[in-house]
């Protein structure tokens, strides 16, 4: 039987700090676990106990305050057009989180996600304009429609390999563009469908906070999902479906459930988008948008909520930020022979470059890069290396 032994340190030359003094005591966080008596042992260095200094707490508090300032206060101080753009960033974050459930947690790729978002948008607009429903009811219907699409599509296509699933979603997206979005009665045809803001949230500022509230709700559900059996089941079946099955997980059902959750969030995002710009037009939802959704989620960093939020927000306002604020197109236009790069093109030129860069060199995306900062903000020590988890080294134990 194994015995966990808190014991004298041995100097193994693996970077384990030497014992101090004659019979030095091991720091409580280093433990030796013998695999069997007299054979090799594992040295487990648990994440060292650390508590920030008062100064450290103040620094962290300031950073939190700055984040809160940017998210909650800054938009108020800008003009309504800019507030609108920030709202779009928030909505894109919701869409990114939706795709992250599918791509990050479940390992399935949806290349037709813009169809889910678009259908959510049109549904909500339709419910409000044609059926005279109140805003929140319309949004609820949009979410339900998102779930329904996922259910139907998933039931057919999740039975086959993940790559075929990607194809089906792509085909679905194109079909939605050509067929569904052109159904005059539902989408108002080329004129589009108006989608007014709800009565209580008429101003762009109020609508921004409304969307922030929805984002918070999505983050809550995502957080609870991953902290409970559903999320754990998804991660298991993503990595090792056979083992997940032996844990009692019905792989097909859980994959479908994940898709439904993604569909609900996407429908929500679509509805919020519609009312943000107060009208929905069908050419908003081309298949390039589907690719942008995928790449903003991947660049953001799969399975990292904060990363996905940052990545999505970034992509939604990239043309405004990079081209409006920093005036990158001015710089590009200086290069002779190269035609102008209009702002709207920025996402689809810079985006893929970022995506390819991420995939080949930093697969963890933005999420991976900000991990040290996240840990620091939660009160840990700031270190660029190490995962904060217990580290294990195998060493030789000779009595």
């Amino acid at each position: 039987m194994l015995r966990a032994v808190s014991s004298r340190l041995r100097n193994h030359g693996h970077g384990v700090p030497a014992a101090t003094g004659g019979d030095g005591h091991a720091p409580a966080d280093v433990v030796e676990v013998e695999v069997a008596p007299g054979t090799e042992a594992i040295v487990v260095e648990a994440a060292p106990l650390f508590s920030p200094s008062p100064g450290g707490w103040v620094a962290r508090g300031l950073v939190w305050a700055a984040v809160a300032l940017v998210v909650f206060v800054i938009p108020l101080l800008r003009d309504p057009v800019e507030a609108n753009i920030y709202t779009q960033a928030v909505i894109y974050a919701i869409i990114g989180l939706s795709l992250n459930v599918l791509l990050g947690y479940t390992g399935q790729i949806s290349l037709g996600h813009q169809a889910f978002v678009g259908i959510g948008a049109f549904t909500s607009a339709y419910m409000v304009t044609v059926h005279g429903q109140p805003f929140f009811a319309a949004v609820a219907v949009a979410m339900a429609v998102g779930a329904l699409q996922a259910l139907v599509l998933g039931a057919v296509s999740l039975r086959v390999t993940g790559l075929y699933f990607a194809l089906v979603t792509l085909s679905y997206g194109l079909m939605a563009q050509d067929t569904l979005f052109n159904i005059q009665a539902l989408t108002g045809g080329s004129a589009g469908q108006p989608a007014p803001k709800p009565a209580m949230f008429q101003s762009d500022y109020r609508y921004y906070y409304l969307c922030l509230a929805f984002l918070a709700a999505v983050i809550w559900v995502d957080w609870r999902l991953m902290k409970t059996k559903g999320g754990r089941a998804l991660l298991a079946l993503r990595e090792n479906p056979r083992v997940a099955a032996t844990f009692g997980t019905d792989v097909k059902v859980y994959t479908l459930m994940a898709f439904v959750v993604a569909g609900v969030f996407a429908g929500l995002g679509g509805a919020l988008l519609a009312h943000n710009v107060t009208s929905v037009v069908l050419d908003q939802f081309s298949f390039q948008l589907a690719l942008i959704f995928v790449l903003m989620t991947v660049v953001g960093g799969l399975r990292s909520r904060a990363g996905v939020i940052i990545g999505s927000a970034f992509f939604s306002i990239i043309d405004y930020l990079v081209f409006g604020k920093i005036n990158l197109d001015g710089a590009i236009n200086q290069i002779p022979g190269l035609p102008n790069l209009p702002g709207e093109l920025a996402p689809i030129v810079i985006g893929p470059l970022l995506l390819l860069f991420t995939l080949t060199t930093h697969p963890g995306g933005i999420g991976q890069q900000i991990k040290p900062v996240q840990r620091w903000l939660k009160g840990g020590r700031f270190s660029l290396h190490g995962t904060g988890e217990a580290e294990v080294r195998v060493s030789d134990v000779r009595a």
Binding site: V35, A36, I42, E389
Partner: protein, 267 residues
């Protein structure tokens, strides 16, 4: 009443008969050994029993219920637990997370309730966490709880896997070469552990094994497979001295041993 019964199971893969008319029984709280040279079809039999394959002929009965048509997760829900030859764990997660994931069926709340953060899910999660820690304690894994599985050495992985499969609260434990990579002393210690676990958790165990002393130490009954067929069965002493068994392990047939295993791996 036998807990597990495989009746005349046969399965072929592209012309190779991996199992032919294999029958096996395990009674309540018995430890049953399955031995045989590499490629004899032992893991195939496990796959048939647990539901990863369906037999071409024959049936599998668990607790007197015909489970031949049931899916893997359904059999797991009935109380079948299993380990894998190349270690079945979620390598990207920590030991603790694996122990929690394995308690999937014990969670006591629905996936939706979990997502929405219903109040009872918090208490349920605390309980799952406590159970995970208790299991880790029993297997001596407490310091490793927050270590990523991928970083652990092979011998450790086997122990973690046992803890994790126990977390699924099985009545029947199917162990696929649990002592592979262990020396004779370790294997002997594992035997002791197994007997204690059988007592504590009231388990029936079917075990694929290569360590002959271990089989003699713990098994109540042994089956020997070769070339997909049942060669001999009986108490460990009976089987060990059976002439066919001796020939199978030491005899001239040894060269074909890899065949069935290769076929299984390709498919």
């Amino acid at each position: 009443m036998s807990v597990l019964e495989a009746r005349d199971c046969s399965i072929a893969f592209g012309g190779v008969q991996a199992n032919r008319d294999v029958s096996l029984k395990a009674g309540e709280w018995e430890i049953v050994g399955v031995i045989g040279p590499n490629g004899a079809g032992k893991t195939t039999l496990f796959n048939l029993i647990t539901g990863f394959y369906r037999p071409d002929q024959g049936s599998v009965w668990f607790k007197d219920v015909d489970v031949t048509g049931l899916e893997v997760h359904e059999r797991a829900a009935m109380g079948m637990g299993r380990t894998f030859q190349n270690v079945g764990l979620v390598k990207g997660s920590t030991v603790r997370e694996n122990l929690l994931t394995a308690q999937h069926l014990e969670a006591g709340y629905s996936m939706v309730a979990g997502m929405l953060g219903a109040p009872h899910t918090f208490a349920a999660e605390r309980e799952l966490g406590a159970r995970a820690e208790a299991l880790a304690e029993i297997m001596g894994l407490t310091p490793l709880l927050d270590t990523r599985v991928a970083g652990l050495p092979y011998g450790m992985l086997k122990r973690v896997e046992v803890a994790v499969v126990l977390a699924t609260d099985p009545d029947l434990l199917l162990l696929d070469e649990p002592t592979s990579g262990m020396g004779p002393e370790e294997a002997h210690n594992f035997g002791g552990t197994l007997l204690e676990l059988r007592q504590t958790f009231e388990l029936t165990v079917v075990m694929i094994e290569h360590h002959v002393p271990l089989v003699a130490q713990v098994c109540d009954y042994v089956y020997c497979l070769n070339f997909g067929e049942m060669l001999a069965e009986g108490t460990p002493e009976e089987v060990r001295s059976h002439p066919e068994v001796v020939r199978a392990y030491l005899g001239e047939e040894a060269e074909v041993e890899g065949l069935v295993q290769d076929v299984e791996q390709v498919l």
